[in-house]
Amino acid sequence: MSETIQGIEELNLTRKDFVPGNEVRWCPGCGDYSVLANMQKTLPVLGVKKENYAFISGIGCSSRFPYYMDTYGFHSIHGRAPAIASGVKLANPDLAVWVITGDGDGFSIGGNHMIHVLRRNIDLNIVLFNNRIYGLTKGQYSPTSKLGMKTKSSPFGSVDRPFNPSSIALGANATFIARALDVDAKGLQNSIKRAQRHKGASFIEVYQNCVIFNDGEFADLENKATRPDKALFVVHGEPMIFGKERDKGIIMKDNHPKVVTLGGDWSEKDLLVHDETNSIITNLLLEMTFDPLNPTPFGILRAVEEPTYNDMLVSQIKNVTETLGKGTLEDLFYSGDVWEVK
């Protein structure tokens, strides 16, 4: 990545460099605005040249994102952005390639591509806008909608069990998993920065409010008053503490995470310490997602270094070329049994 070669000051980029002239057409109040603003704010300081960013999306409200970024962009077809982005990255490994997708695009129609791009660990950054609803098609339940949810296509309540996208990412062996809230600028920016710096497939799940079809889905988390008691922001190497007064923590009891109050019987040293390189901790955090007795975890949930597909492909080409010599068309054409007609 050009990051290492190019000094950050030298690039001299600002947020404005990433804002194109056209108007943004999301609904007023949509959580997507915040992600867009934080992306435009963060990209200039990542040390990547503007022309080396490419944003690839599928179909859905969030997938309009590339049109609102003054970078190279490709608004493709439903669910296929991870596959298209894989081709972009393999064709030009110098690019910083971002995939923008939603819960329907990335985990319903495109679920297959998502698990495989994560498994392969191609050096892409994937942002999943999870609003637990189909927005662009005007309000049907999605694979992350809660059981029983009444929508246009489930007027009597959904009988379709949801899954947890970040758990799927872990199951697919993703090397980087972060979760952020649309209203949390700091969390978003940190996730974006870390994702860009991570070598390999980075997966950021953003809890994003759909103001029209699923308003208030994350109300307790988004509301500044309730958030501290409902959300757990984890930091690598630090104990899992949350609460308005920073007086609550997570311990392991009977093989389950459990909330305790600090002071009295429990002190910081009793608490679980976040380790983003330990998949058991990541899994434990992810299991807390739907547990009403535990807070919802946010932050960098997992980050490990593994070889990337793109690096391995490049070095395989290099090694084979060194061993066999650079192939010419003559070599190729004459590689079988050849005879001559005189």
Binding site: Y72, I77, A83, S86, G87, H113, G336, V341
Partner: protein, 612 residues
């Protein structure tokens, strides 16, 4: 005893056995030796879609046929002169095709009561006189290789496996082919296991010597070198030829080649071949499915590679939406469909030409795309190269149609001098292409082609996508007039390709009673049929279409000089339907969908029927 050598002009041999008997390998080795001798040839494999169907059953029979000769050979032959039958099932399935008076070479040891029953023979045909009228060589191949290899360390099963090499040895003797190339090939193939290599070589030599010394064989045959154009040749299958054509186009364009693909019969050999060419800078991506294969290729095209995807019919169906994306984003892409029998899974290992509608018409909305079809295995090289050249020059996806017969069949390929291949000029705009109002990704050149601005170019940041774009500016647009304009441009871009299509070659007189129009792999059979009919005094000519979308500009004019048109196709009449609306004329059809190519005689009969 001196044995006679008879000179013949051509011969057709079919190797048939159980799918575990190594018939494809035996046929391929015979083919290579025949190519080295300098005969012209064509081959066709015929195998079941099961990897190992139950041993000894009719369903498990695998076959390989080749025709070779001292003159140009256009097809793998209609009916074989010689049938190698390694078991009763192979004889049962293929006897009906053997020429009257033809030769049967059978492994007598496989004709056991159990195998005969499985193949539905009431009596042993090798013994009951039912094969009278054929020349039958009933040889105890298993026993003979067992004896020849009794000192070998191989298990008895391993020894039994070499019987195909024995049969090959007999045929090498019978048709005066050299055994040395196969000897060298076996040593290389089993380099890590010399015992197996030597056992196979011994088996082959035993077979050869068996022909030479035993008294049951009195005659062998010699076929002179074919009078092919001067040059260097090698044998090539259509699938390998496609791979080479793409590599050659990438080199000529100064591009890296990217293949996004998912394994599918009968196209997988293209993926296999290209994945072995890392030292040619070839990037292959075995995707999670067909859609991801083409999607990754589209991404690679956007980022500046020569991108391609390879598949067969069912895979094409899955790629359909993505092809539309490549059309609306006007990105260069080569899509290869090695057609097979359908619909659905159909007959995966059998050939058909029934994806023509799918190629020309099979997308939502008005989505025109150039379609080129290869006519023989070596021509697959030219078509793949040409498709890539057109894709890059006109910024469009291009479909290449071959089929299982071309892809897995083979024939000699006159190796081109890379210097003689056309250069493919590509220009990517640089930062200077940014005007006052920014970069215009849908600006048009004289061919209405848009610029190919590569991500990473400073100042040319732009967005493309599946939503309709405003011409020139590339902004998202739902404007009615713009959509009409863009739809018209997409159609014109394909139509403009007629300027690239060379004049059609009329084989025969340019005026007459009947013109036979073919496309794809029917070329050989039509050529032979028309040739025979002309020699019999019929007024018939032949043209073969390589480009089906767009049709060549001179097609109508040529057809106007003939009273009748006949289109033979291995489908139910797809080109016929397309051409009726193009030419506004009645067209006679000859169709069959039996998973096999036409025999020349079938087409000849139809010509005679029409011309009386």
């Amino acid at each position: 005893m001196t044995k006679k050598i008879i000179r013949i002009n051509e011969a057709t041999i079919r190797f048939a056995g159980d799918s575990g008997d190594g018939m494809q390998l035996t046929g391929t080795r015979f083919t290579e030796a025949t190519a080295i001798v300098g005969n012209d040839l064509k081959t066709i494999p015929n195998y079941p879609s099961e990897i190992r169907a139950p041993l000894g059953t009719l369903a498990g029979v695998s076959a390989f046929q080749l025709m070779f000769g001292s003159q140009q050979v256009f097809t793998p032959g209609d009916l074989p002169d010689t049938l190698v039958a390694m078991n009763p099932a192979a004889l049962k399935v293929h006897l009906k095709d053997l020429k009257k008076g033809g030769t049967i070479l059978a492994n007598a040891n496989a004709f056991t009561a159990k195998n005969l029953k499985m193949a539905h023979w009431e009596n042993n045909p090798l013994e009951d006189g039912s094969l009278e009228g054929y020349t039958v060589y009933s040889i105890e191949m298993s026993k003979l290789v067992g004896k020849a290899l009794e000192d070998s360390d191989l298990t008895s099963k391993g020894i039994e496996r070499t019987k195909n090499m024995f049969a090959l040895g007999v045929l090498f003797w019978m048709y005066n082919r050299p055994i040395e190339p196969t000897e060298a090939w076996l040593r290389k193939k089993f380099g890590k296991n010399p015992a197996i290599a030597e056992a196979n070589i011994t088996a082959m030599k035993t077979g050869f010597n068996y022909g030479e010394t035993t008294e049951i064989f009195t005659t062998s045959y010699a076929v002179d070198k074919a009078d092919l154009p001067k040059g260097k040749y090698r044998n090539i299958t259509g699938n390998v030829a496609v791979a080479y054509g793409l590599v050659a186009a990438a080199k000529k364009a100064g591009k890296e080649l990217f293949l996004g693909s998912y394994p599918i019969t009968p196209a997988s050999e293209i993926l296999h071949t290209l994945s072995g060419l890392r030292n040619y800078g070839v990037k292959t991506f075995q995707a999670e499915d067909e859609i991801a294969g083409i999607s990754a290729a589209i991404g690679a095209a956007y980022a500046g590679d020569l991108a391609c995807t390879t598949t067969s019919g069912p895979g094409m169906a899955l790629k359909t939406e993505a092809i539309g994306l490549a059309i609306i984003t006007e990105l260069p892409l080569v899509i290869v469909n090695v057609q097979r029998g359908g619909p659905s899974t159909g007959m995966p290992t059998k050939m058909e030409q029934s994806d023509l509608f799918q190629a020309v018409l099979g997308r939502n909305s008005d989505a025109p795309i150039p379609v080129i079809a290869a006519q023989d295995p070596a021509d697959c090289f030219n078509c793949a190269f040409e498709a890539a050249r057109i894709a890059l020059k006109y910024m469009t996806p291009v479909i290449v149609l071959t089929d299982g017969y071309l892809g897995q069949g083979s024939g000699p390929w006159q190796i081109p001098d890379p210097k003689d291949l056309p250069e493919i000029k590509i220009s990517h705009p640089d930062s200077s292409a940014r005007g006052e109002n920014g970069f215009m990704p849908y600006a048009r050149d004289e061919n209405e082609t848009r610029p190919w601005a590569i991500p990473g170019t400073p100042g040319l940041e732009h967005r493309i996508g599946g939503l309709e774009k405003e011409n020139i500016s590339g902004m998202v647009s739902q404007d009615p007039a713009n959509h009409q304009l863009m739809t018209d441009i997409r159609a014109r871009k394909v139509q403009n390709l007629t300027q690239e299509i060379p004049a059609l070659e009329v084989c025969g007189d340019s005026k007459g009673e009947l013109i036979v129009i073919g496309w794809g792999s029917t070329h050989g059979s039509i050529h032979v049929a028309v040739d025979r009919a002309r020699k019999a005094g019929k007024s018939v000519s032949h043209i073969h279409l390589r480009w089906i979308s767009p049709f060549p500009a001179d097609l109508k004019e040529i057809c106007d000089n003939f009273d009748e048109i006949l289109i033979p196709e291995v489908n139910s009449g797809q080109l016929s339907l397309l051409l009726r609306s193009e030419l506004l004329r009645p067209i006679q059809q000859l169709n069959k969908v039996r998973g096999e190519p036409f025999r020349a005689s079938e087409i000849e009969n139809k010509i005679n029927e029409i011309l009386g």
